[in-house]
């Protein structure tokens, strides 16, 4: 029955309240399309969010939804998943929600491998509180709270996820329907914690912060789309490729035609390669997009139920448990 639903069936009647031109609109649109494409069962799908612009997301998706408190969505979602492991749970968070106030919960959801699809909308700024710098803002970001430019070093969401033990790490751009759609579908299929960083343009407070690689003019030359088993090539007619330089232990860009046999083939199961790809920053290097890292591992809910063999079902009686100790009888 669900298979016949269209993207529109996944939209609620609520008026969407993001700023006109916000990247969130594009993400919402691709998300509802993907839900329709994969035939998501609405009653078994839940969107859980924290606080921030991105966290309004659940109100706009016609599934179950829970708009929780700042930074805690992964924790709420973990409890929900344990209570009902059949649910398909998407966590929507941002760079402030997920990496500042909620960094701890994100770390633990990833290292436990709870089957949550975690979408981190990264716009490198605090939007809902009107434009202060965030933990992903680049050094020198001028904002109301850093008029002379920010001076604390940013965190890389992808490297944070990798360091936290994430088994699935992907990246996409808000308006890239194909790239984002593909990544969301892959996340949906993945059994475990899927971490997706979405470069999201905040049109009001941090416009075009990703233009170095999202700009139409530069996109081809500065985006490398990782596909497992295929060469890591990019640029016009895939003329460029990535090569591992043994001396510097880093990636370098080479001519993919002339030195075709030196071009790396993407292996999404290799954490070293994932680290190198996630470390690249445009414009010096191309920005890596797509599924960068994916390995199979036991999920947390599976381990949890392994330790709770009764599946939270009641197989014993309290009356017996009360007597399962030394007792004595008074006549």
């Amino acid at each position: 029955m669900s298979a016949s639903l269209t993207a529109r069936d996944y939209a609620t009647s609520q008026e969407v309240r993001w700023c006109p031109g916000c990247g969130d609109y594009a993400i919402l649109k691709t998300m509802t399309r993907v839900l329709a494409d994969v035939g998501a069962e609405r009653e078994n799908t839940v969107f859980v969010s924290g606080i921030g612009c991105s966290s309004r997301f659940p109100y706009y998706v016609e599934t179950y939804g829970f708009h929780t408190i700042h930074g805690r969505a992964p924790a709420v979602a973990t409890g929900l998943k344990l209570a009902n492991p059949e649910l398909d749970i998407w966590v929507v968070t941002g760079d402030g929600d997920g990496l500042s106030i909620g960094g701890n919960h994100l770390l633990h959801a990833l290292r436990r491998n709870v089957s949550l699809k975690i979408l981190l909308f990264n716009n490198e700024i605090y939007g809902l509180t009107k434009g202060q710098y965030s933990p992903t803002s680049r050094l020198g970001t001028r904002s109301p709270s850093s008029p002379a430019g920010s001076y604390d070093a940013p965190v890389s969401p992808g490297l944070f996820a990798l360091g936290s033990g994430a088994r699935f790490i992907a990246r996409a751009i808000d308006v890239d329907k194909t790239g984002l759609g593909g990544v969301l579908e892959a996340a949906h299929r993945y059994d475990g914690a899927a971490f997706v960083e979405i470069y999201q343009n905040c049109i009001v407070y941090n416009e075009d912060v990703f233009e170095a690689f999202t700009d139409r003019e530069h996109a081809t030359e500065r985006q490398v789309h990782a596909r497992h088993g295929e060469p890591l090539v990019f640029g016009k007619a895939n003329s460029k490729g990535l090569r591992f330089d043994m001396t510097s232990m880093s990636l370098e860009v080479i001519d993919a035609q002339e030195r075709a046999d030196e071009v790396l083939v993407h292996d999404e199961t290799n954490p070293m390669l994932a680290q190198l790809l996630l470390s690249m920053e445009a414009p010096a290097m191309p920005q890596a997009l797509g599924v960068i890292y994916r390995v199979e591992d036991e999920t947390f809910e599976s381990a949890f139920y392994g330790n709770h063999p009764t599946q939270l079902k009641r197989t014993g009686k309290v009356a017996d448990a009360l007597r399962n100790t030394n007792t004595w009888t008074v006549e």
Partner: protein, 635 residues
């Protein structure tokens, strides 16, 4: 001593074991208790241990103690002043001496009364010879040496062999009380089933200590105390600690509601025993999730509640403070949630292993905005069982978070318990949605019961009931986000009315001891129950104008409480804080009280409550009965 004074004494004996944290004192205490229970005695215990896991040996701050009050009963506290002390080292003696009764029997382990041992405890002179133990019955036993001799055949390393001394001492104490060794032997056999030499050594130590008492040469020096049997109602009994009773009560609540339960917690003293007990109750439909922090624990519990399981979180004061924002989310989202607070001494890290009724303000008032929720408190170890069921019943009926207050003392204290019959408890209703809604789902999900204000408990996975909830203010009828002025006023009122409505479902306030009107009402809550109960019972034998009222439902109070309190000239409120219940009584009922505050990290002694209340009684009535009572007390 007059006959009247004579009967003021409970026919019971108070025993205290004290030693280093590593001496096995707590184990010795629990084993002694099981034997006294089997012998038909009533009892109450009080484990008193340091925050350090292994504090430096021989120091006063590293002393771990276990106090037991046993006898005919009814016994409701661990007793004021021990009549017998076993001190494994000078530090244990030094710490315990101010607590014990005049003329008490003191068994000291002389092995540790060396110059070094005395110095570590801060003794300049040996208390055994400087007269400071005059008036006590001192029994000197070289326990460590005798233990080493007894376990020699089993070839243990010296340190392991020495560790058997708690069982040697227990053997001696068992003999003094004429108690059987069988239950302890069974326990040792079970516990050390896989380690034959340790098992045999502990058994040998136990028997050697027992035989030492029997030895004729010493029989004159070691008193035989005997155990008084209690008059128990017929039935099957077990011993239970508060943490255990609470765990079983939660499982029982899940069974009565026929819902799974997810217990989400982060380890903290003194709340961790509950986590440990529940981790063993998987067969009873309880899942245990150890979260990364306090906030994650409460949030996961809320997620579980959204998912249709009963979400429970547990902590102590500082951890509860961290959960506060999430608790308000559950209030706003109208989800059930149990918050169990094992209170400890504060503020900040405070006294982690010491008891205090520190968090009543936090439970009743401690949230941003107008965010009321029901608060209930357990009064004894076994009462934790009933209170867990009651708290769950309220949470599911009204779709609200509920605070359950217990404390470090209750969590670890033990008492005999007439095992309850599950048939005696009514099933817990769960606010199921009656049929498929005809109109808007979001509206149906927030259509509240007219009496309880509880909304239907609808969870992901239920077909055609997709809806959104959250922490933003919502429209009172459609449940959609609303920033409308009038709506917020109405929703705030609704949240208040919901908590007020709880009073319509709970029992009227009862009186524990005394008449429904009189000169003084002694009003308590939580773990002070035992001391207040005994104190008022003692007073009642001389003066019938004093009553004891103990409040389980603190928010809201039972409907009849105001009227009940109006029947007394003075309301005295003993609390292990600076007067928090007094404040709440004044706030909610406009009642003036006389607080009796104790914040030493130790429970109330019966005698200090007696004295305070009699002082108040004298003020109110002009009739001072203290001279007739206080004399002869203190034993």
């Amino acid at each position: 001593m007059s006959a009247k004074q004579q009967e003021l004494h409970e026919p019971s004996v108070v025993v205290r074991f004290a030693g280093d944290s590593g001496d096995g004192v707590q184990l010795m205490g629990t084993q002694f208790v099981s034997s006294t229970a089997l012998a038909g005695s009533d009892f109450a215990t009080f484990p008193d241990y340091p925050a350090e896991i292994r504090a430096p040996a021989g120091t006063t701050f590293g002393v771990s103690a276990y106090q037991i009050n046993l006898g005919a009963g009814p016994i409701t506290t661990a007793g004021d002043a021990p009549q017998m002390l076993v001190a494994f080292n000078p530090a244990a003696l030094k710490v315990s001496l101010p607590l014990i009764a005049d003329g008490a029997a003191i068994i000291v382990n002389t092995t540790n009364f060396t110059r070094r041992g005395l110095a570590k405890a801060g003794y300049e002179e040996d208390p055994r010879s400087d007269g400071s133990l005059d008036g006590y019955q001192l029994i000197e036993v070289d326990i460590t040496r005798l233990t080493l001799e007894a376990v020699k055949p089993f070839g243990l390393a010296k340190s392991d062999a020495g560790r058997c001394k708690n069982f040697w001492a227990l053997g001696l104490v068992q003999w003094m009380f004429g108690l059987e060794l069988e239950a302890i032997e069974e326990w040792i056999n079970r516990k050390f089933a896989k380690n034959a030499s340790v098992r045999q050594a502990n058994l040998a130590a136990l028997h050697a200590g027992n035989a030492y008492g029997e030895t004729a040469a010493l029989a004159a020096a070691v008193p035989q105390l005997g155990v008084r049997k209690a008059k128990f109602a017929p039935g099957t009994y077990r011993g239970v600690r508060g943490g255990e009773a609470l765990a079983l009560g939660l499982a029982a609540a899940g069974e009565l509601a026929d819902r799974p339960m997810l217990f989400c917690s982060y380890p903290i003293t003194p709340a961790s025993p509950l986590l440990h007990h529940l981790a063993r109750l998987g067969k009873l439909g309880v899942g245990v999730f150890q979260a990364e922090d306090e906030i994650a624990a409460v949030c996961a519990a809320i997620g579980a509640s959204f998912g249709g399981a009963i979400g429970v979180t547990s902590s102590s004061g500082p951890g509860i403070a961290l959960k506060t924002e999430a608790i308000a989310l559950a209030i706003n989202a109208e989800l059930p949630l149990l918050i169990i607070d094992s209170q400890r001494g504060g503020p900040s890290t405070g006294l982690p292993t010491k008891t205090e009724q520190s968090d009543l303000y936090q439970a009743v008032y401690g949230r941003n905005a107008d965010a009321p929720l029901p608060v209930v408190a357990a009064r004894s170890p076994s009462d934790c069982f009933d209170v867990a069921i009651e708290a769950t019943r309220i949470a599911l009926r009204h779709m609200t978070p509920v605070f359950l207050l217990t404390d470090g003392y209750l969590a670890n204290a033990a008492e005999p318990w007439l095992i309850p019959e599950m048939d005696a408890y009514a099933p817990i209703e769960t606010n199921a949605l009656a049929g498929k809604p005809s109109g808007d789902v979001q509206t149906a999900v927030f259509e509240r019961n007219r009496k309880s204000f509880g909304r239907p408990w609808v969870s992901p996975g239920m077909p055609e009931l997709m809806h959104r909830i959250g922490g933003l203010e919502k429209d009172i009828s459609t449940g959609h986000i609303s920033y409308e002025a009038e709506n917020h006023q109405a929703m705030t009122q609704l949240r208040a009315d919901k908590v007020t409505s709880v009073a319509e479902f709970i029992p009227e306030q009862a009186i524990e001891v005394g008449a429904s009107e009189g000169a003084v009402a002694v009003v308590g809550w939580g773990s002070t129950y035992g001391a207040i109960y005994q104190a008022v019972r003692r007073i009642a034998r001389l003066d019938d104008r004093v009553s004891h009222i103990h409040i389980r439902h603190i928010n809201p109070f039972p409907n009849n409480l105001a009227e009940l309190l109006a029947g007394f000239d003075r309301i005295v409120v003993p609390e292990m804080n600076m007067g928090q219940l007094s404040t709440v009584l004044r706030d909610k009922l406009g009642v003036r009280t006389v607080p009796f505050a104790k914040v030493t990290g130790q429970p109330f002694l019966i005698q200090e409550v007696v004295e305070f209340v009699l002082g108040q009684l004298a003020e109110v009535t002009g009739d001072d009965v203290r001279p007739r009572i206080v004399q002869g007390e203190g034993t």
